[in-house]
């Protein structure tokens, strides 16, 4: 066992440390200096500190070690990890910037007043930062022990964030459901990990990979357990049941975080575990040539997610539930990249999940600004393009990107992902799955267009006036929409960091 140098450890984890410090400062400020100040003021200061902390984190990641493998894979850094960490921190900055619009509570909506859904502003932002710390750790480790700890840390924070709107029954219900499902799935994951530990005698993914070359029926059980555990985190069917309720009940800012940062990190580590750790047990999901292994299991999960998510989304009347079911469909597409498990397909998976997170966070940002006016059902959005042209324009960009229409980022993500999946298997064996994905994206266009139809085509209800939104919200959403367009027109901007 190599001795761990603590100074090196501190140096490596500087971004996380910066975030923890920022979180503590937020708590301290909110609890002392700003006690008794107006909610808006407290929010402003907390958002400022949280944003600065995240930006400091980005700078530290940038200056941090380029590659590293520490203590049985407890901390691992390489080019891709750094990119993922940067993206996660950027998503946190965007979430914080959007929090202006997100803090209007369900109860106050009816009364028309603009206050926060909670008095605990400091705690909220501190939790957001802690969640970011958790995802940063989650993506920078290749050791099952730390993976599990980071995952549980993240889940705990997310349970609280989901239930933070204490005045709303839905929020509480969502948190409870999320918690119960999460607890069970964690048990599955832990069982899987224990089996793997028993099989390989190691928690380091690198060591496990060697052991996974030896065929053993227990491997199959372990892999299924791990897939169940992670399938829950990434909301793939049939482990998705918590997602629609959590997306609908959670405060919008939490739902945004849940669907963007948490998704990115979970997918990245899921891919790491399977492609690095269980490499030898990959099997294949190729038509006519399938062999047992996680690729086969994932193929089934992916196919089910694509079909289930997209078909169920057709029937939704609530915008958030629609986004939740579409997220399940997208999880199905993303699993394609893992099933193919070539470096190219993993890179395309990352591109997809980054651009997906950007678009879906943007969509939640628009929703948050709208929900202040009591818009939640799709039908409520009627005539929105006349009431809020800018927000509608942003929503158009985000939804069409999710649907995969060029020249938006989501299109290129799909194109690359499908191409990489076809290219990976011999004789285009994954063609059946890619074909299914392409067909399901036709279904997806239908329900995204249904929303856009309300926004652009339908006429507004009588007496509905213009919708105001905060300046910061508009600037942030504008930047995000522009980013979606730019990343679609010039994917190389982001791609070159991932492929290296």
């Amino acid at each position: 066992m190599s001795a761990v140098s603590y100074s090196q450890l501190v140096w490596v984890t500087l971004p996380e440390i910066a975030l923890v410090i920022a979180a503590l400062v937020v708590l301290a400020c909110d609890g002392t200096v700003l006690r008794g100040a107006a909610i808006a003021q407290r929010r402003g200061v907390a958002a400022l500190i949280a944003g600065l902390g995240s930006i400091a984190g980005m700078l530290l990641v940038e200056r941090g070690p380029a590659s590293l493998h520490l203590a049985y894979g407890m901390l691992v850094m390489d080019g891709q990890t750094r990119v993922v960490q940067m993206v996660l921190l950027a998503l946190t900055v965007l979430t914080v910037l959007l929090s202006d619009a997100m803090l209007t509570p369900a109860a106050a909506r009816a009364a028309g007043e603009k206050t926060a859904f909670t008095r605990h502003i400091g705690e909220y932002f501190a939790l957001l930062l802690f969640a970011t710390v958790a995802v940063l750790f989650l993506v920078s480790t290749q050791n099952f022990l730390l993976i599990f700890i980071a995952l549980e840390f993240l889940s705990l924070v997310l349970y609280i964030l989901t239930g933070f709107d204490k005045g709303s029954r839905k929020s509480t219900e969502a948190a409870l459901k999320y918690f119960l499902f999460g607890g069970i799935s964690a048990a599955f994951l832990l069982f899987g990990i224990s089996l793997i530990y028993g099989l390989s005698g190691s928690l380091d993914l690198g060591q496990i990979a060697l052991a996974s070359m030896r065929p053993d029926p227990l491997w199959m059980i372990a892999i299924v357990m791990v897939v169940v555990g992670f399938g829950f985190k990434v909301a793939a069917a049939p482990f998705h049941l918590w997602a629609p309720d959590a997306y609908q009940g959670a405060p919008t800012i939490s739902a945004g975080f849940l669907s963007s940062s948490s998704k990115v990190a979970s997918f990245f580590i899921f891919a790491q575990v399977l492609t690095v750790g269980a490499f030898g047990a990959a099997g294949s999901g190729v038509w006519h040539g399938s062999t047992p292994g996680w690729a086969l299991v994932l193929s089934a999960v992916a196919a089910f997610s694509m079909v289930m998510g997209n078909l169920a989304a057709l029937a939704q009347t609530s915008l958030r539930r629609l986004l939740a079911y579409s997220a399940i469909g997208h999880a199905g597409y993303m699993l394609l990249g893992m099933i193919a498990h070539t470096p190219q397909s993993i890179a395309s998976l990352l591109y997809y999940v980054f651009t997906y997170a950007l678009a879906v966070l943007g969509a939640f940002g628009v929703l948050a600004a709208l929900e202040a006016q009591g818009i939640d059902r799709i039908a409520d959005a009627a005539g929105l393009s006349r009431r809020a042209p800018f927000l509608s324009g942003c929503m158009l960009v985000f939804l069409l990107s999710l649907a995969g229409i060029p020249p938006l980022a989501g299109f290129f993500g799909k194109f690359w992902l499908f191409g990489a999946a076809l290219n990976a298997a011999p004789q285009m064996g994954l063609f059946w799955l890619v074909m299914l994905a392409i067909l399901m994206s036709v279904v997806a266009l239908y329900y995204y267009l249904k929303v856009l139809k309300q926004i652009y085509v339908a006429d507004a209800a009588e007496g509905a006036g213009a919708i105001r939104s905060g300046l910061w919200t508009r600037v942030t959403l504008g930047v995000m929409a522009a980013a979606v367009v730019v990343l679609g027109c010039d994917p190389w901007l982001l791609m070159r960091w991932i492929v290296r």
């Binding site: 060029p406 290219n423 285009m428 067909l439 036709v442 239908y446 267009l449 652009y456 994917p491 190389w492």
Partner: protein, 512 residues
């Protein structure tokens, strides 16, 4: 320079959105200028073109690791369709001069659609072509769903038609996507460049299944029976300018894709299977038959429609059948006829929709031939009646109009390769004459007024023709007559391109 047709259209869309809200006239003029400049560039490009060459407009690496390039180029076929797009776009704007609801958005969506269409015709990179192809889908939805015609205030029909059209287009493009991704993988995942892929020796068994995938994907948009059903409903529900574009250029996107992508890159897919299923021995025979059914079916349905716009909508299905049949003859004259028919039908269908949707419907507020027959429009709107008569003559393929030389070449091509089909085609042409004659007499020259004495009061209500309508009609008429009288103008562009190295693989596999 040709690339500016694309950039200008997109820039025009952005500028249109920035024009003042309360001055719709400014918006219209900006849109018209954009379209006119696009047309001018297309004409200039045609004038300076050396027949038979491939003019590279822009070529740059875009996404190097995947072999995607930003490659715009044009040969004679592209140029013919660019010309068509320029003409149809200009005429469409002239005929939507009376749009007064959300004017800026209308022209913005319109110009984005135009830009996408220009892009498809100029792309020589498969990825790029697909990107432009999909860019053209979404604006169609909004154009129809927001500004479409809603008889009796019933908007559900037009949103239904818009959604149907978009889903058909998108499903078609999904097939195309599967096909081009497979072609990319099969060729070693190095390049999407069409010039390179055109000479890549794909295995025959691969082309055998990839060709129908891509061909059908594009043919959905070209209105091939039985995937044509989006076309009549979409055309009928769309606002005039959008129907003109749909029939005029969007259906050509599909036909162009069939020729440029499916047939140029995967020609071996047209060869014989080596076995027979239900009497069919190759995809070529299957698609020929579908095209033939389209010609006859479209014409016969048009024959019994009471809705004037549906008559024209089904006539489009029938005329596009000629394009597909011409492609399937695999002979130089047949392909030449097919490309010429794309141009010809684009202009003529545009004109017919302009008459029905703008000049007649916007004045009489009905598309029902039974009611129109009581109005004696031939007397009250003589200019319209003359325009429609000329358009009808062009549509049925009278010599002197572009339709004649196009359909004639297709028929010669069919005669040489699949003689028995000529009789069915001839029957189809008779039916085209039938429904055109019926629509013409019912709508304009019926004496039903005497029987139903309700028309007298309506004469006064019909507003006089405006100058944009006259200009648009003259532009389209001039195009069809010029090409009709001097077809060499376009043939000299098309034939050398068909003989260029790009189509070498297609020629080698059964050119006659």
């Amino acid at each position: 320079m040709l690339a500016w047709t694309i950039y200008l259209s997109f820039a025009g869309a952005a500028i249109v959105l920035l024009t003042p809200k309360d001055k719709p006239q400014v918006t219209r003029v900006v849109a018209l200028l954009t379209a006119l400049v696009g047309l001018g560039i297309a004409i200039a490009g045609t004038m300076t073109y050396q027949p038979g060459t491939l003019v590279t407009v822009t070529r740059a690496a875009w996404i190097p690791t995947l072999g995607i390039g930003y490659h715009l180029a044009a040969d004679g076929i592209s140029l013919v369709l660019l010309l068509l797009t320029g003409i149809a776009a200009t005429a469409g704007i002239l005929f939507s001069w009376n749009i007064d609801k959300r004017v800026r958005e209308f022209f913005a969506f319109y110009l984005v659609l135009i830009g996408g269409v220009y892009g498809v015709f100029l792309s020589f990179d498969l990825f790029l072509l697909f990107v432009f192809y999909e860019i053209a889908i979404i604006p169609k939805y909004f154009l129809i769903a927001i500004w479409g015609s809603a008889p009796n205030g019933d908007t559900s029909k037009r949103t239904y038609a818009a959604m149907k059209l978009v889903l058909y287009s998108f499903a078609g493009s999904a097939l195309v996507l599967a096909g081009i991704l497979s072609a990319w993988v099969e060729s070693g995942a190095k390049t999407f460049d069409m010039q390179t892929l055109a000479s890549y020796p794909f295995p025959v068994h691969f082309e055998m299944w990839a060709f129908p995938l891509v061909f059908v994907g594009f043919a959905v948009l070209a209105g091939m029976w039985p995937f044509h059903t989006w076309a009549p409903t979409g055309h009928a529900a769309a606002p005039t300018a959008a129907s003109m574009l749909l029939a005029g250029v969007v259906m050509k996107l599909g036909a162009y894709g069939c020729l440029r992508v499916a047939m140029m890159l995967l020609p071996a897919g047209l060869g014989a299977w080596g076995f027979h299923v239900l009497g069919f021995g190759s995809w070529r025979e299957v698609f020929s038959l579908l095209a033939l059914i389209g010609i006859v079916y479209g014409a016969s349905v048009a024959l019994v429609q009471q809705d004037f716009k549906f008559v024209i909508g089904y006539s489009s299905v029938s005329h596009m059948g000629f394009v597909l049949l011409g492609l399937m003859t695999l002979s130089q004259i047949g392909l030449d006829g097919a490309v010429l028919q794309m141009f010809s039908h684009g202009v003529i269908a545009g004109l017919l929709f302009a008459v029905v949707g703008r000049m007649v419907y916007d004045r009489t507020h009905t598309r029902d031939l039974r009611i129109l027959s009581t109005m004696r429009l031939g007397k009250t709107l003589p200019f319209v009646a003359v325009v429609f008569t000329l358009a009808a003559m062009a549509s049925i393929g009278m010599p002197g109009f572009s339709g004649f030389i196009a359909e004639f070449q297709v028929i010669v091509g069919v005669w040489r390769t699949m003689p028995w089909m000529v009789f069915v085609v001839g029957f189809g042409i008779l039916m085209v004459i039938g429904f055109t004659w019926r629509a013409l007499t019912r709508a304009f020259f019926s004496d039903g007024e005497r029987r139903l004495a309700t028309g007298a009061s309506q004469h006064a209500e019909l507003s006089p023709l405006t100058w944009p309508e006259r200009c648009g009609s003259l532009l389209l008429l001039a195009a069809t007559i010029t090409v009709g009288l001097y077809p060499q103008l376009l043939i000299r562009l098309i034939v050398p391109s068909l003989n260029s190295p790009l189509f070498a693989a297609l020629r080698n596999g059964g050119w006659r």
